[in-house]
């Protein structure tokens, strides 16, 4: 059984012309110890979907349909008290824009200690402290700097602190929302390696979000690609990225364009191809395949809603032109 089962999740923001469905009927799951990547251009609803899991959505957002079953309990119907015991204790988050995710007036040490004190009541003060120091060392920060304030650290170091904090209560699932976006390339690679190795060491599951597929290719067991509030392709990383010789690689035209749109994180590619056009304006009602306005392969049929179909080995894509997409 998976650790997390999302079924038909729909999240709406109020918009000028009615609801904006930032997440529109998404099915998604994460297994125990699994490392899952979520990709898609900015504005596709990745953050909204991720924040819907521990119910950390902005105040104007509403979950209008679906369920988020975590460890057997539906989090969408849980009350605030129940959610508080799940947050950080079971599901922790490394937030997008994490440079301001640390409170400037408290020391990093006390910020790491805080969730331990709140959730692991039985822990003694000395135990908590030694765990905090251990975590700092694990992310490569000398324990002696626990008394320093966030502004005394560089961006990469602050992100390391965030990771240490995310692991403080040994959660089952860590959600990392664009954890490396604001960092320089060298630091990006280090942080990714750190995330992967720590989660492996503690046996945690991870949901890693990035608009850059190549980041996920390096780190994840499985990936999902999101477009305009829907998941358009999902499968084992090896199959989707085609590193697995016999299984073609990405099948959805959007995934293919996305793969060509970013340079590889470690091997710089010479040629980067942007995707022409913009994601659809979600304030307008959507129908059919959301990508068809930007798709070279679009036909009349694409005005109908495509569903995810299995293309072999747990690799699924939602596209009417899968036959064409293989060869293009």
């Amino acid at each position: 059984m998976s650790l997390l089962e999302i079924r038909g999740l729909t999240v709406a923001y109020p918009g000028k012309h009615g609801d904006v469905l930032a997440v529109d009927g998404v099915d998604f799951s994460i297994g125990k110890g699994e490392f899952v990547g979520l990709a898609g251009e900015s504005g596709c609803g990745k953050t909204t979907m991720a924040m819907a899991i521990p119910n950390l959505l902005p105040r104007n957002a509403r979950i209008t349909a679906g369920s988020v079953v975590f460890d057997g309990a539906d989090l969408t119907t849980m009350d605030e008290d129940g959610l508080r015991t799940v947050r950080w204790n079971e599901i922790s988050v490394v937030f997008q824009g994490a440079l301001n995710a640390l409170n400037p007036v408290h020391t990093v040490g006390s910020q790491i200690l805080e969730p331990i004190r709140v959730h692991d009541r039985g822990t003694s003060e000395a135990e908590a402290r030694s765990r905090m120091e251990e975590l700092l060392e694990a992310v490569g920060i000398p324990a002696g700097r626990a008394g320093d304030f966030p502004h005394q650290f560089s961006g990469g170091m602050r992100q390391r602190v965030m990771i240490a904090m995310a692991l403080a209560c040994r959660p089952q699932l860590v959600i990392a929302d664009e954890p490396i976006t604001a960092l320089d390339v060298m630091t990006q690679a280090q942080i990714l390696d750190l995330l992967r190795s720590l989660c492996d060491r503690y046996g945690l599951s991870m949901l890693l979000i990035s608009h850059d597929l190549s980041v996920l290719a390096q780190t994840c067991d499985r990936v999902a690609v999101m477009y305009a509030g829907r998941i358009v392709e999902t499968g084992p990383a090896g199959r989707v990225f085609g590193s697995d010789e016999h299984h073609g690689g990405a099948r959805h035209p959007y995934t293919q364009r996305l793969l060509r749109a970013y340079p590889n994180i470690r091997r710089e590619r010479v040629f980067i191809e942007g995707i022409p056009g913009y994601p659809p304006d979600l304030t307008q009602p959507q129908s059919g395949c959301r990508f068809r306005a930007r798709c070279d392969l679009a036909i009349d049929k694409c005005a109908e809603e495509p569903t995810l179909v299995d293309v072999g080995g747990d690799h699924r894509a939602a596209c009417w032109r899968l036959d064409q997409a293989v060869t293009s």
Partner: protein, 322 residues
Amino acid sequence: MPPLLRRILVLLVSLFAIVTFNFFLFHVIPGDPIRLIARTQKLAPDQVEKLRQSFGLDGSLIEQYFRYLSNLLHGDLGYSFSLKEPVSDVIGRALLNTLILLTVSTIIVVVVGIMIGVFAGSRHGKKADSATVVTSLIFWSLPTFWVGMLLVFTFGVWIGGLPISGITTPNAVYHSGIDYVMDVARHLILPTITLAIVDIAFFIIITRTSLVDVMGEDYMLTARGKGLTRRTMVWKHGFRNALLPVLTASVLYISALVAGAIQVEVVFSWPGMGLLTYNSVLARDYPVLEACFLVTAIVVLAANFGADLVYRRLDPRVAVNT
């Protein structure tokens, strides 16, 4: 240079600026202050002599300035012809009374203002918040002296029950120190309420706006994600940060408080610096007026310095960097 030393230097420079400014205001701009006073006062010859001495009017402007400085350093603030006393004696008593009034009301204003401000700010966009904002704006639009007049009317004329004038009951016989303190405390009630009503509104608005800004910060989402209770979120993470802009606005608050105190003292005849200022204006007693302005300005300067020190303690970014 260590930050504290720099702050103290700035304080000294400001102090010097105030003193010099005061000299120009009262000794240079009016030309001959004696003539100015003679405009509205019938002066006996010995009074004129005392005035000339207290203004140090002989010699060049530079000489006058240095004599003025040296007098100040010796605590000599001149002579009040309306009260027939050295100004420094008069000021000493008045300052104490004003500080009592200001301390009590500041504590009330800060505590109540922060509680209500945090209450409203943490309910941003809800009914309780907008109701608090509108109410605060209304109270902030009230002229302090008029609030005082209404309270005098209510408790002096209409309902009665609370002293509306002075700092103690006239001709009262006290059996113990406690009696005396209780009498002063009773006299303090209405002036404090008057001062607090308007200034709390100001404090609420600043605290609330600041907290609303802070609640939108990334680290507040982190706090929520950590599974903290609302209370911990709001106070430990939100308020601690919201306090910084509140402290930055303390210049405005201190100025408003002093203005409020002057009005309150006039309305309730509270024998402090404000009433002294008022009476010296009515009597055109310029040495007293001058000293009132100077001392008030210095106290305000010191208060701002104090607020700045607190700010530096509370914001780790400033404490380390400057």
